[in-house]
Symmetry: C2
Subunit: 205 residues, 2 copies
């Protein structure tokens, strides 16, 4: 009756369950009891693999950081033009959120904000990293003239990151009735269109 597994396998299982339950129950309401039930282990069994609940959260952050940075690299490697790169970066991000809807909630959790400084640091670093990638790509586009010259790359990056977060809230508040990726692509195109220089006069009139 005792399903014994290797510690490593069990750890990844637990982290995956954390992400799922953080979405279902909320990061600040996720209990070790629920977590244990999700991975079919008794509640104290969890503490065999993670000394405290905070360490559990940190492992989740590490996992997210790993998969995200990997996805960014792939996205940047696949595309060459600045517009396509920006699109790819944001799309990857939307896909990550769609796959792990708990991420925005974790960003607002009190576990991160007041109780787990390490967790907070991890996410701040991750966001800074993403912002840097966007700034670099936007600067590149500005230099080659595909983006408006009067658009500060840093501001553009903030506008794009905000779009992702705004979409995430709309998606979850709207009980996820629409496809985050589709709606995101549409609005991203809209925003990128605003980034484009308009050398000719407008034709709408």
């Amino acid at each position: 009756m005792r399903a014994r597994k290797s510690a490593e396998l069990r750890k990844t299982e637990i982290v995956a369950a954390m992400l799922r339950l953080a979405d279902e129950l909320g990061p600040d309401r996720l209990t070790t009891v629920a977590l244990a039930k999700a991975v079919a282990v008794t509640q104290p069994g969890i503490f065999r693999h993670f000394p405290t609940k905070q360490d559990l959260w940190f492992a989740v952050a590490e996992h997210i950081a790993l998969t995200m940075t990997a996805a960014w690299e792939v996205a940047l490697a696949a595309e060459t033009t600045p517009q396509k790169r920006v699109t790819a970066l944001i799309t990857v991000q939307l896909r990550q959120i769609a796959a792990h809807p708990a991420i925005p909630a974790i960003l607002h959790s009190r576990e991160l904000h007041t109780e787990n400084a390490a967790l907070r640091a991890q996410f701040v670093a991750l966001m800074t990293q993403f912002q840097t990638l966007l700034v670099e790509t936007l600067a590149e586009g500005s230099a080659t003239g595909v983006f408006r010259g009067d658009l500060a790359p840093k501001d553009g990056a903030i506008l794009l990151i905000s779009l992702v977060q705004g979409l995430a809230i709309r998606w979850s508040l709207g009980q996820r009735v629409f496809s985050l990726e589709d709606e995101g692509s549409r609005l991203l195109a809209c925003q990128l269109d605003l980034f484009r220089p308009q050398p000719a006069s407008e034709k709408t009139k």
Copy 2:
């Protein structure tokens, strides 16, 4: 030693404390014990005024809705041009968040998402209302030519609301080292600049 107050006064006191503590402790970690201590009443004394904790949250939502809609009206009444109106609406929103930093966290709380349908409905309605105001103002600006004709008002509204939410996360994650209103105004100007038609060619080069 017993500071007896009218129920109405006490209720508003409790709602104010809820907003403060929701920021300090997090919406999903706010306890009735902490709340009672904040308003200098014993813990069961809270339930004299609100039958359940859910009703407590709903009262908070009502309070936020009231102050927000009032602020929107004032903002719209004070300004006439579409650009100034949009700026005023967003600025009001940033000021609200700066005054009650718990609001974004409440939007992500599980109290709202899974446990308190009434709370959720209240906030969804409030956001819809705000979006409608923005859409109307943007449409007005599009019609009079102060905004680009190819910008869909609905998309523009989403971009602006996302900006507010993105700024709010940056502000709280950055431990509020910058002024939300100042940084918001800067980026809002940046975004509105993108909304403006560019009849002439760019001069930056």
